[in-house]
Structures are given as C-alpha cells and as structure tokens.
Assembly symmetry: C2
Amino acid sequence: MRAGAGASSSRVGSKVSVRAFAPAGADPLQAGSTLELDDEESRYLIKVRRVRIGEALEVFDAGSVWIGRLVAAGRRARVRIDGPRPPGAPVPTRVVLLGLPDAAATLEAVTGACELGATQLVFVRCERSSGHLPSAGRLERVMRAAMRQCGRPSPPELLGAPPAEPWSLANALAHHPQLPGVFGSVDDRDNLTSLIDSRATEPAEPPMPKVPRLASHRGPPKPSRPASGREVSSAPIDPSSAPIDPSSTPIEALRLLVGPEGGLTPAEIEAAAAAGFVPTRLGPWILRTPTAVVALLARFGSAPAGV
Amino acid sequence: MRAGAGASSSRVGSKVSVRAFAPAGADPLQAGSTLELDDEESRYLIKVRRVRIGEALEVFDAGSVWIGRLVAAGRRARVRIDGPRPPGAPVPTRVVLLGLPDAAATLEAVTGACELGATQLVFVRCERSSGHLPSAGRLERVMRAAMRQCGRPSPPELLGAPPAEPWSLANALAHHPQLPGVFGSVDDRDNLTSLIDSRATEPAEPPMPKVPRLASHRGPPKPSRPASGREVSSAPIDPSSAPIDPSSTPIEALRLLVGPEGGLTPAEIEAAAAAGFVPTRLGPWILRTPTAVVALLARFGSAPAGV
C-alpha cells in the first residue's frame, strides 16, 4: 500500500502524509498530551515510513484525527499531540452492495470503496461469486492500510464481511429499501438483446432507459416479477421518470450495486430492477469489480460534478 | 488479471467472455476462415481459460473484433471465424496525462485507463514521480491482459511510455492545448490554505471555484505565471465561467491530469492551471494514482451520467 498517492495530495503545502492509529483504549487525546503507539504502528512509522523526530503526522483515534509530532522513536514510538484536526463536512450516505469477486479483488474493492467514500459496504454472495473470501485479519489490515493512505479516520461499516457470512442478494436488495439504487451496466444493449444476432441491426446509440429522479422518495421494493427473458434490465423501469443527475447538488443517500466477476445473472438483474435499482452505464467496456466500485462511487460521488 | 469481472457483464446472455489476439501479420479474417493462434494465445485459451472445443470466443485482430469458435485445441489452438462483431459507437477523446507513480501503480493505472476508455495515455515525469518504470514488455503484457478482460480491441495510444522516455509536465500540458482539461483535487481547501492553521476557521463548505464550460473552445495555454504562494489552484480560474457538467451530452474531448504519489507540487498545480486545467473534486479523501485515473474517467466519462 502506498501512502500519499493522489490526483493532487490534500497535504500539498503541509506535507502531513503519514498517519498512525492510536491504541484502542488509550486515554482521550488532547493538545499537549503524549501518546505511545503500539508495536505495529511504531514499526510502520519508523521502519516503513521513516518518520524522523520532530516530523508531523496525523493520529486516528476512534474516528477523529489529531495532528502531532514524533518525539521518540524507539521500539515504541511516542507522539506529542498538537491538537485536533477539525472534522470535514458530513459525507453523504453511499451503501455499496458488493457482489463478491475472488478474495484479492474483494480486497481491492474494499480499498476503493474506502478511498471513494462508501459509508456502508455489504458483502453479497451472488450466483457467480467466487467461494474464496479474504480472512477477517487480512480484511482488517487492508482496510487500515486504505484508511492510512487516504486519510479517512473511520472505515465504511462492513456488513456480511468475514468473520460473518455474506448476505444473500435478496437480503441485500431489501436493505435500506427507501434509498434510490443504481447498478453498473457496461453496455445496455447486451442487457436488452442477445449479443451476436442483434448487434448488426441495432442503432449505434440506443435510447437510454429512464431512471427515477433521486430527489423523489420511493417506497419499499415492489414484489419481484417473473423473469421476462431478454429484457431483464429495462422492463421494470418506469418510463415516466427522469434521469438521475449527479451534477446537481450532491445526492444525499444512494445504494450502489456492483456485480461479481462474470457479472450479475439475468435473474439477479431482474431482482435488482424489481427492487428499484436502475442501470447506469459506465462506458463501453467490461469493468473489473474493484474498478466498477470506484467508477460508480466517482460517478455518483459526494462532490458536485462541476467542481 | 481476472477475466469477465464487472458491474454487470456485457456478455450476460451470450456468455462470450474469452478473448484472444490474432497473430500479427495473419491473413485478413473473414467469416468461415480458420485461424491458428500463437503459442501464448493458445496456452491462454486452453490452459488458463480452459475453453473447450465448440465454445465461442472473440478474436481481436488489429483493432477489430471477430466472433469464432474453438475447433482444435492442441499446442496451437485453431479458431473458426463466424463473423465480425460490428464496432460500437465511437468513443470520445480522453487524453490522460499520468504523473508517474511507482512501477506497480503505473501498471494499475494503465489497466484502469484501458477499462474506462482513455484514448491516449501520456506518461509524465512529475517532480514527485518515482524513478521506477515498468519495463516495455511488462507494460505490453498488462495492456493486453486489460484489453482481453474488458473486451476492448484497441489499446489507448501510449506516449512517453517505455521504451521511450516520459514527457516533462511542460510538454504534456502543451499537448492538445485546445482541449478542456481537468485535474483531480481531493480537497480544495488544502490547495487554497495551509492545513493546520486554517482548518478550524474555514467554512465547512468553501465556495467552489468556477471552471470553464466545456462547450467553449479555448486558445493555447496562457504563459505561466510566477507561483503565487498558497493560492495555487484558484488563482488562474476565470470567475466568470460556469461549471463543467458531465450529465449533459457526453463531452467529446477532454484532457485529464492525474498526479503521482504524493501529488502535484504547488508549482505543478500552478503550471496546470496556467495551461487551462481546472480542479475537480473527487471526494474528501486522498486517492491513489490508479484510483484517481478511474475516478476521473468515470466522472467525466463517455456515457451520459443519467443512464
């Protein structure tokens, strides 16, 4: 895991790019106090990041961030706390329903979800999900590394993640049913028609399905309909509704469904659509699951698109 | 590299998720012809993907895609060509200027740029770039794997990539100067003010800098201004212009600048802004370089945001 990567580091000018976790159960931090880090964090600071005495760093403590300086660099690093970093603006709710890919891709998806501001991440066993899950320990280490790297002091809430069992898609689709939902669709043509027979006769730019406005609230999921063959993604869409517009003010709360490797099955797409999820196109090509997580969160992100 | 991952595979229903490259210099493909693949592609099909006789696959041949079936599976696989896959709609121009991170992250960024539809990818040596570049061979293998995985038959054009030398930022910023440009900014507050001193007194939601409309054409880059201290990203923005709106019709051509690990320096941000690049916020946290490539391309993608 690399630290401080980014389009343009938010630490430009201040150069605080190193972050460590306070030990669980430490005394409450305050300006002027000195904190002793545990072995793992000490090793990270001194051996991995090579922080020197007097250098500034951030300390994560139960979801808050403190600015401090390294004052002792033995086996146990000691940090003098200068003061709290004021919290940023509240982030909007982003519930990611993650159709589980293999273990390595799951960890990549967790990192991306953390970086891009997912607030809740539900591990979902889909029909094409791999049977291999990361261990709870590995998951925690990857999440901590992602938090350190991106500067986020509280992780996304994990549901159905090891050591718990993944959720079924039905349960995941019934989670926060009042929130608008979207799922990634690489190429809507292929959800509507079979591939080889129809491509030649399709228009280059098919009409886009309409999706509900995010401002309007919708009720609990409609009862599932029987699968209707090829028109899996377009059938349940209300043609009178209007497109989601991420360029307006940030959308307060949203559910994002991402399929596993191999994608969602037609029946799963039907179930998602019946639960109110609408397809969103992320480009002409097939995305890996971790890429789709980042792309969906960026597309329907927390910041107005124009900025 | 995993195959067939995605938010929802475009191969749903058709199950064509395996792709191979025709040998360079093979006879032109046509319906009914039979093609012998080279050793590497044969091994990929038969040993890695375990394609069986009669199964459908796609063959990439100099930027076009053919549908075929495996008809012989010896050391050299043979594919009978059923016919061409019609080309999709033209994709919009997306020029990614990649401030080089380390070699592994560079390869990740290349994969993401391929998946999300970058049309040109310029390797740029920034002040904080790592000195370690992937070899030309490794770069080619990763690009081919990404193309196979995402179904894209032509790679992004690479400029300044091994075995060539990376471009300077000045040269990269002068490339396609008529195109609108954006760069990722995690937290605009930190580009405007120093971190520790000012956070407590800043408003939770600072006024967003205005950026030019993408519809309007702009001339060649303005001459660089001397660095003006802290206000590196906001100074050159024309306050009379209006926000970029990716939810309207797809933007035809765009330059996207992504910084290396550690971000762009204040002087580099100044240079980018002087060349007409405007900051875009991708969320509250610091992104890794490969994540920022995917997030920027998704944010300013080829598909209307509402779909």
